[in-house]
């Protein structure tokens, strides 16, 4: 038992707990959690798009993903695909010559988000969906998001996703930016300079639950 924890427990008027007693106490404390308090939202989809636009995502809406290939054909950068089955399964033949695995050199990354959060206009991607390096080193990013995967609040997302099994969960809300020079907003600080949100709206087909 380290001295810092012992000191803290002593300041709180008790002996530090260990092992089973600690787990039991934690389980007890978890039952005292209070309800979520969140800003009132109207329609989640409308709110998501409004917030995402404020976050400087470039948003386009599509009924399928085939149009993505056409869009990327015009890109000057090599295209790096996240190793997600849903992304790699598309017909990349028309741009096969431009595909690359090296996201450390300037590239355009393509990744599918597991969810969107309406209250903050954010997309969610885990380190098991795409390497974190791809999300942050690419010059540009295309993030595919199926509209059915948009939830209103962060807490809803925490309930849906299975915890653990990944190192990192990223909430990404637009391109990289800084205001460190004279408090002037400048996009493209270290991460991607542009993030294109490819919003897929499938009529009537709910998306499978997020893995």
């Amino acid at each position: 038992m380290n001295s810092v924890l012992r000191t803290i427990a002593a300041r709180l008027g008790r002996m530090p707990l260990a092992e089973d007693a600690l787990e039991r106490r934690f389980a007890e404390l978890k039952t005292t959690a209070t309800a979520t308090v969140a800003p009132p939202l109207a329609d989640a989809i409308t709110c998501f798009i409004a917030e995402a636009e404020k976050n400087l995502f470039e948003i386009s809406r599509h009924s399928n993903l085939e149009t993505l290939i056409g869009y990327l054909a015009d890109s000057k950068l090599p295209v790096v695909l996240a190793p997600q089955a849903s992304v790699r399964a598309l017909n990349w033949q028309p741009v096969i010559g431009r595909l690359s695995e090296d996201y450390r050199a300037p590239a355009l990354g393509v990744v599918e988000a597991v969810a969107g959060i309406a209250e903050t206009g954010s997309v969610t991607i885990r380190s098991t969906d795409a390497p974190s390096g791809l999300l942050f080193l690419c010059e540009e990013l295309v993030v595919i998001l199926r509209q059915e995967r948009i939830v209103a609040l962060q807490e809803e997302l925490w309930q849906r996703l299975s915890p653990g099994g990944y190192r990192a969960l990223h909430l990404i809300s637009g391109p990289s930016r800084t205001a460190d020079v004279e408090q002037t907003l400048q996009v493209g600080a270290h991460g991607p300079r542009r993030v294109h949100l490819w919003l897929v709206t499938e009529n009537g087909n709910p998306a499978p639950p997020a893995p």
Binding site: V4, L5, A9, A38, Y166, R167, A168, A189, G191
Partner: protein, 466 residues
């Protein structure tokens, strides 16, 4: 007798036109962005109440949450280290760095690392720390400490930054005219630092006990590049940051970015733990170093509420004293109202105890604090602590004399009225002439003369004459 450091530094700061111009430019933006952001949220007051409740609940059982946090991180393959003092923190980080054979380290912004003066220790050990947050990078080039906990280079103007880059990057004649030029240049240089770094050191905004997770909030993505690319990720943080659950973290996030920069959320809000088998990249080694440095002594004390702080910077953005003199006047990693409480409590040098006096108790800090810390009340308590511990300030004898007189109301009434009558006679066109002892006021403003006999005396006289 020399004047205290804060007085000297603040006088210098007030007379520094470059600093004043930088503060003038920064101030309206912070205030407006925050007020715009909270205007878009109908129930911001309730969000603050919830955030305060989460923080208070965390502190009440801090030992349990920290104990669980350690268990979860360890079970997931990471390491938790406990640093009682800043010496401990430096030693722990250096041991990890040496074991990793590190020669260079990228660094995300960490106030705890600043508090522990970690960069100096790394350099002394032959390890080169490379700051990645643009503001921290700027002050690293300038060899200066941060002046604000969210915007460390707030005090620097664009021309100053351009000069720093021109020299440090050996740019010769190439001009960096615009903000875009500067940011692109920083991106270019720091990109190579990310790719070369042997270890990455970040802070943490929140720690989540339930899953052994740390939360990192940036707009640049620098924290994520620091945390994700090297083979070792070290998190330098403090014992007070832990909350129970992801839901609790969301309650904090809802008020953090809005209060700091006026955003609903920072561009990159990432939840990190140790690497897992299914991960596609990431460090093999994940270390969290928890610093106490006297924070535990605030638990169970009248200052416990200060540990609720989520380091948003809103208090200093709204403090007229901070805005007048800038962060360096405080000579502390933590400036402004929260710094005026934390610095004497954590560091406790005699000069630090002057900071709580440098306030008019206007209350703007408490008004904007997202977790409702009663800052003016804590500052007042520290003034009492200062007097009690015999750090007597000059002039307190005058206050003691005045209050002693006030205990004899009749004598007080007669004496004060006599003084007022006398002063009124000295009046020239309604104002007092320059008088010894009144210099602090009269150097910069006129002082209106008393009207004559005191109100109480005149009231009694009128009653008697009826």
């Amino acid at each position: 007798m020399t004047e205290p450091g804060f007085i000297l530094r603040s006088r210098e700061a007030l007379a520094d036109p470059v600093l004043q111009s930088a503060m003038d430019k920064a101030r309206p933006g912070f205030v407006r962005k925050r007020s715009d952001a909270i205007a878009r949220v109908a129930n911001f007051s309730e969000l603050r109440d919830k955030a305060r409740e989460v923080r208070q609940r965390s502190l009440r059982d801090l030992d349990v949450y920290l104990g669980i946090f350690e268990r979860r991180v360890t079970a997931a393959g990471g390491h938790v280290h406990w640093a009682s003092s800043t010496d401990d923190l430096r030693r722990i980080v250096l041991d990890i760095a040496k074991a990793a054979g590190a020669r260079t380290a990228t660094k995300g912004k960490s106030m705890i690392a600043e508090e522990a003066e970690l960069n100096q220790a790394l350099e002394a050990a032959g390890i080169s720390p490379r700051e990645t947050d643009l503001g921290e990078y700027i002050i690293q080039l300038a060899g200066e400490p941060p002046s604000h906990i969210v915007a460390p280079a707030l005090h620097k103007t664009r021309p100053q930054i351009a000069d720093l880059f021109r020299t440090a990057h050996a740019l010769g004649e190439r001009q960096l005219e615009t903000v875009q030029d500067l940011v692109d240049e920083a991106r270019r240089v720091i990109r190579s630092h990310y790719l070369e770094a042997d270890i990455g050191i970040t802070g943490a905004n929140i720690l989540i006990a339930d899953t052994g997770t740390m939360v990192l909030c940036t707009n640049e993505g620098n924290g994520d590049l620091t945390a994700s690319l090297p083979d070792t990720h070290i998190v330098t943080t403090s014992i007070d940051k832990v909350v129970a659950s992801w839901d609790d973290a969301s309650a904090i996030l809802r008020v953090l970015a809005r209060s700091a920069t006026g955003q609903a959320i920072t561009t990159y809000t990432s939840f990190y733990g140790p690497r897992q088998p299914g991960d596609l990249d990431g460090p093999s080694h994940f270390h969290v170093v928890l610093l106490d440095n006297r924070r535990s002594s605030l638990l169970g004390s009248e200052y416990q509420e200060m540990l609720q702080c989520i380091k948003c910077g809103a208090c200093m953005n709204h403090c007229p004293v901070y805005q007048a003199v800038g962060g360096h006047s405080y000579d502390s990693v933590y400036p402004g109202p929260m710094g005026a409480v934390l610095t004497p409590l954590l560091r406790g040098e005699r000069g630090d105890y002057l900071l709580p006096h440098a306030s008019t108790f206007c209350g703007r800090c408490e008004e904007v604090c997202p977790v409702r810390i009663p800052l003016p009340s804590l500052l007042r308590k520290l003034r009492e602590k200062d007097v009690r511990e015999h750090h007597q300030r000059g002039g307190i004898w005058l206050i003691r004399f005045y209050v002693a007189l006030a205990r004899f109301p009749r004598l007080y009434r007669v004496a004060t009225s006599a003084l007022s009558v006398l002063s009124a006679k000295l009046a020239k066109r309604g104002k007092l002439p320059r008088l010894p002892g009144l210099g602090a006021w009269q150097r910069k403003r006129d002082m209106a003369a008393p009207q004559g006999a005191s109100f109480q005396q005149q009231w009694r006289a009128r009653r008697k004459s009826r």
